[in-house]
């Protein structure tokens, strides 16, 4: 089991004073890490830093031994990412959207598009226009895009939002199947019950700081992730500010 992702002392400060502070996180091959935290805690910011979409103010991010800041193209190659709804072009079809991503992986043939679309249950909609999709269908397409390049590390930001029961079961099955094959996952979600089912590890991020990280087994008998989270909050429920929409 090798180290897949190493986040060392990563900080990102926004002008409004929020962001993430001195984060340390490490993922081993096959780990399924659930990232929980209130709105505005810095979950998406951390994921954007890891994937190079945002420049951290400090710290180091190493993916499969390559530093993201120095060797971006090679570091990001084995990573599948889905962060937010805006990553798809609404005037194009799922096939066209995925084809654009697939061009960067010439070793994979066009049939890979059908494979992933079938995996997420969207094959019959492959020529439809994305703007006509529901939230759940968009989430499925995002998952397909993240899995397209046969990645070894998959980063998903709230992938279960808007999924119907079928979608949820499908998502769970995909994560379980791929993690058994050695694929590592970093998943942020507010659905703690769902994370408990699929995650081998979980981290709690509050106010830009990592309050806890450890295996799900360490929860203790009869304790859920939610209990753990409430404990870490110390009963002070976080009140999001107006700026939450900018940098969750």
């Amino acid at each position: 089991m090798g180290t897949v992702l190493e986040v060392t002392g990563v900080s990102k400060q926004y002008r409004n004073g929020r962001g993430i502070k001195d984060l340390h996180l490490s993922l081993e091959q096959g780990n399924v890490m659930g990232l929980i935290g209130p709105n505005g805690a810095g979950k998406t910011t951390l994921m954007k830093c890891i994937t190079g979409l945002v420049q951290p103010s400090g710290g180091r991010i190493i993916i499969f031994g390559r530093e993201i800041g120095h060797d971006y193209k090679e570091a990001i190659r084995p990573v599948g990412v889905y962060i937010g709804m805006g990553t798809m072009y609404p005037h194009l079809s799922p096939y066209q959207n995925l084809k654009m991503a697939l061009r960067f992986y010439p070793e994979l043939g066009d049939s890979r598009i059908d494979e992933v679309l079938e995996q997420v249950g969207l094959l019959q909609f492959k020529r439809d226009i994305v703007s006509s999709f529901s939230l759940g269908m968009n989430q499925r397409l995002g998952l397909a895009a993240a899995l397209l390049s046969k990645p070894s590390l998959v980063i998903l930001d709230e992938p279960a939002n808007g999924l119907d029961i079928d979608g949820m079961l499908l998502f769970r099955k995909i994560v379980e199947q791929l993690s058994a094959e050695g694929v590592t996952f970093l998943i942020s979600s507010h659905l703690t019950g769902e994370l408990e089912r699929i995650c081998s590890h979980f981290s709690i991020l509050i106010g830009g700081e990592l309050k806890f990280t450890g295996p799900t087994e360490s929860l203790g008998k009869g304790k859920s992730i939610e209990d753990h989270y409430v404990e870490r909050l110390g009963g002070n429920f976080y009140a999001p500010s107006n700026n939450d929409q900018y940098d969750e």
Partner: protein, 246 residues
């Protein structure tokens, strides 16, 4: 690097050509010259004015270089930069760096402009041949040369568009400001003639200097100006692009 630029240029072209607005420009490039040639022919027949075929060809080229293609560049740049930033699709976690991404977006706009120029030339030449019932090869060669030379000032306009479109978060705002800026660049030299050479718009009819008595020093000077404009806007545009965060 070259492969990533090529792949992403294909992606950008695919995104743009799927838009109805872009398809409209291509239809305009195909049908506009036909209409203009037949209009010129009508004027000649009704008003007994003789218009040389070369003048008609240059008028068509001018209309596209001065009006249609700058507008197309502004629309494409506002879509690819401001529009995508607004929607959150400007950057993806893919094996392509920011310089390659920026270069490929500009290249895509440039290639679509060149495609339109080629269509305009072909459409104009064929229409003229049909109307005149003959092909004047020397004139066809002149307009072909003009078409290729016109790419240089268009590069400066594309760099200007990609720079300016990044200063706005919405494509419609970016497009309005670019059109406004373009009108200022075109109009200001009429009020202040000494400002003529300060804007890249002054060189959009650069191709005319390549016909007849060619003034090499003036052509070199114009080329240097265009090169400077392009470099300035490209570098400033890339700097903004590189520091952008989703």
């Amino acid at each position: 690097m070259r492969q990533a630029i090529m792949i992403n240029t294909m992606n950008e072209i695919e995104k743009l050509t799927a838009k109805p607005g872009v398809k409209l420009y291509f239809w305009l490039a195909a049908l506009g010259p036909v209409l203009m040639v037949f209009l010129a022919e009508k004027i000649q027949t009704n008003d007994m004015i003789t218009l040389p075929a070369l003048n008609v060809s240059f008028s068509i080229l001018h209309a596209f270089i001065l009006l249609v293609l700058p507008l197309f560049s502004f629309m494409a740049a506002s879509d690819l930069f401001a529009g995508e930033w607004d929607k959150g699709s400007l950057f993806h976690a893919r094996p392509v760096n920011r310089l390659e991404l920026f270069l490929s977006k500009n290249t895509a706009i440039g290639l679509l402009c060149i495609s339109q120029l080629v269509i305009v030339w072909l459409s104009g030449t064929i229409s003229l041949a049909v109307v005149e019932r003959e092909v004047i090869w020397s004139e066809t060669g002149s307009t072909l040369l003009s078409m290729f030379i016109s790419i240089f000032p268009l590069v400066a306009i594309i760099c200007f568009a990609s720079f300016l479109s990044q200063c706005f978060k919405h494509s419609s705002t970016a497009l309005s400001f670019m059109i406004f800026g373009y009108l200022i660049m075109v109009g200001l030299p009429f009020l202040f003639p000494q400002a003529t050479n300060l804007f890249p718009t002054a060189y959009l009819d650069w191709h005319l200097q390549w016909h007849g008595n060619v003034n090499i020093s003036w052509i070199s000077m114009s080329f240097l100006y265009l090169f400077s404009f392009s470099s300035l806007f490209f570098t400033s545009g890339y700097y903004i692009f590189k520091t952008k965060e989703l």
